[in-house]
Symmetry: C2
Subunit: 481 residues, 2 copies
């Protein structure tokens, strides 16, 4: 059999397997599987992707190509644009310019210090680990050409075919700087080749063999998804809390009505002024409210949002994820909702659900909620770095107080709707929630995103405390800017 | 009882009713209800919205304020930004600058002719009719002040409270041009007050009464949603087709393999060149593929997409809508996917599903699919106007041909996945689909977005036809530009 015929036969068999795996992946709503395609400009990154558009079902393919961040992207956390454009489950994503692209370019051009490059690679590793832990498949390919080939490649025939596609535009790197890029790439590979997402070097001098090899790697990656066989990170970094913060609170704190009214007016005016401060628009504000049912989150939030221009404000009530959201990494729906500069976002319940309700109710594995502390800290650190002030509140009531509020709600016809069977069921797990709350505060209270645990038996007291804390935090922040 | 006490009592009762209705709306996933708040700058548009943020559950509120279109918005159909930012079902949407804002400003400043203003108002009426027909509630409010009040308003106390919020920024119109605005607004109200979405004038000299009145209107609108009592447009504009286009085709059309190969190379090269033409990037391309199962849509699409840079391409496979999509106007998911300038979008099945599968399977009411022809024509006309070339294909096979393809698929292990029970069931309704197809072509073939019905017994023939038509259409278009 001629070499050509053998290649054709292999290709046809592979193609059928790939189509079937693609169909199964789609049906099972698993993945997505992401292919990061990097390498020498002449190694055929573009052709490779064309090949797969030819082989596969185009409906379940996504291609992403990121160049320099544009517009608001420059003011958001660096990984934001990758998070929000993650392809949906059941599909494949090809990345021509991935999250490695900018750091690699900048390192090879000497625009990034080794130290910063290392820090960015560590950030990327945490990002990738989180994706993989959440069921995303990752295939990181470096298309490699020997030096002999970089001069003559692509062969004449290929050249002709792709010339008209303005191949130059595909180039990540100019040929002249390629030796510097190669050095940078070696460093990148060293720093980010983990067991779960290694860089794979694909010899690319023979396009047919290159495409076949990548096809086989892709098939394997899809099969791993389907069989649930892929390696998952197992590192967890947390410690159980040793004391009960909720037991330490003074639940008798209260404000008289006239004091409340005076303080409310005072802090609301202060908050209005702070939000109008020109420096505020450079950053943004994220308020997180957690606490037991009937702790008074809604009322407290309203006292704050009343001071805010509705155009810059968004209050998100976090509920059980939709089916679509459930098939995505759990932080994604929060990444999608972080505030742009000058904006305020309030989460009425939040991503902390992972270490609260999801932990207590067993909606996620023990491994995953134990890993979530570090993931959430990382998320908030990225927000902080990009200029978002994160302030977190826990409104604390006693089980007795909750009971009397539930009973009051039951008696008030117009408030009965607020009470569901679930609320009563949750009460039975009160000690579990207390435990989860303490572990949460222990592991996620940071200097830049502290927890404020407020006794909320007296609603007036709780509201004023929250308002005061928001004002004081903003004041401090604006002074620094 | 003092006036103040009476207002307070009314407010409290209204507030409870509103909260309950809001909860029910959210639970039933109905709506959204949109409140368009327009009127005199001093009439308290902002305060009104603040009031509702104070009264209602903030989690289910959205505020939108549109000023001049920004960036890519300027190159997309005018209504695109309103479509894509429609609040989700179960929520309320407040609009400070709605789709009326720009035309109103431009008319009052003499920047828009009466004729164009009228055309824009007609476009808006069609848009609103479609929203209402799809279950969206619309409340269009004009906050009105007597001339006496425009001088003195807002009263001192209010002024003080809102001054710090930079009230001026809320202003849609400067006070000096208000008489011109009022004239324009009268014209607007005349042209766009239909029975289903009338403009309601709200006297606003007394803020308490204003808020109470709007609260009651809002409550009524929510109750109409909940009771399914709102008026719906009942106009339908279509005619049944009188002849069978599918019976007229020559299903024997075929190409020999060598001719096919030559033509394929020819047209693919031509398409590559056309897409690279600098003028192409000014507009965009939308390809719609419809046809029976196994008609060869996927293979034809791949022959076209192979010529396209994956970065500018998106192929959407249209399937049954998700639960979330089902709660939204049916065209929304397609509005969200229209191509930006320089881009190509391919729909493998499309919004025509409404007048095909949804009609045949009874997934939508007779009234709604009969109204869909005009809605779709309107959608495509807006795309055309904004520079998107729409090309629509029906790949036609006979039921016998389909049967033999199904049987072939059953015999090929790796193609069996393509065949589902649903495919077999659909076959039983062949005459209904033929009927629906003919009505569709009869009612939606337009000069700027024609249907191309291609006999596809011979796959080669069909692929070349489709490629040729895309090339010729683009060629013609680029020559004109």
């Amino acid at each position: 059999m001629s070499k050509e015929k053998s290649v054709k036969k292999q290709r046809e068999a592979l193609c059928e397997d790939l189509l079937e795996a693609q169909f199964e992946l789609q049906k099972a709503n698993l993945g997505p599987v992401l292919l990061l395609v990097s390498g020498n400009d002449l190694a055929g990154k573009a052709e490779l992707i064309y090949t797969f558009y030819d082989w596969l079902d185009n409906r379940y393919l996504n291609t992403r190509a990121f160049t320099l961040p544009q517009g608001v992207e420059r003011k958001m956390p660096r990984l934001w644009r990758y998070w929000r454009s993650l392809p949906p489950a059941g599909t494949l994503g090809f990345y021509l310019g991935s999250w490695y692209h900018q750091p690699l370019i900048r390192l090879s051009r000497g625009q990034l210090s080794e130290k910063h490059f290392t820090a960015e690679m560590a950030q990327i590793t945490r990002f990738e680990n989180q994706l993989v832990a959440e069921g995303v498949g990752l295939l990181k390919l470096w298309l490699h050409l020997d030096d002999d080939h970089t001069q003559n490649y692509p062969p004449h025939q290929q050249q002709q075919q792709y010339d008209s596609l303005a191949m130059r535009e595909w180039g990540e790197f100019s040929t002249t700087e390629y030796s510097a890029v190669r050095q940078a790439a070696d460093r990148m590979s060293e720093l980010t080749s983990s067991a779960i997402a290694p860089w794979i070097r694909v010899p690319s001098s023979d396009p047919d063999q290159r495409d076949l090899q990548v096809g086989r790697l892709l098939l394997q990656a899809m099969e791993h998804q389907l069989q649930g066989k892929g390696l998952r990170p197992d590192q967890r970094d947390w410690q159980p809390s040793k004391h009960d913060r909720l037991a330490e609170l003074d639940y008798d704190c209260a404000l008289k009505k006239d004091v409340y009214k005076r303080e409310l007016a005072h802090y609301q005016q202060q908050l209005r002024d702070l939000i109008r401060h020109p420096a505020f628009a450079k950053g943004s504000l994220l308020l997180v409210f957690e606490g037991a049912d009937a702790a008074g989150k809604g009322g407290t939030i309203r006292r704050i949002t009343r001071c805010l221009d509705p155009r810059i404000l968004r209050v998100h009530g976090t509920r059980a994820p939709t089916d679509e959201e459930r098939s995505q990494p759990y932080l994604l729906r929060f990444w999608r909702r972080i505030p742009a500069p000058g904006r305020v976002v309030v989460f009425d319940r939040s991503y902390y659900g992972r270490v609260l309700v999801e932990r207590v109710e067993g909606f996620c594995s023990e491994l995953r909620w134990q890993q979530a502390y570090a993931e959430i800290n990382d998320f908030e650190a990225q927000l902080h770095k990009a200029g978002t002030q994160v302030i977190k509140f826990w409104l604390a009531i006693t089980p007795q107080e909750q009971l009397s509020r539930f009973e009051a709600r039951e008696k008030t016809p117009t408030k009965r709707y607020k009470l569901t069977d679930e609320d009563w069921r949750n009460r039975e797990k009160w000690p579990d929630y207390v435990n989860a709350m303490n572990d949460m505060v222990e592991n996620t209270a940071t200097a830049h995103a502290p927890w404020h645990v407020i006794p909320a038996t007296d609603k007036r007291y709780a509201r004023i405390q929250a308002l005061r804390i928001v004002c004081e935090t903003l004041q401090k922040r604006l002074k620094q800017s």
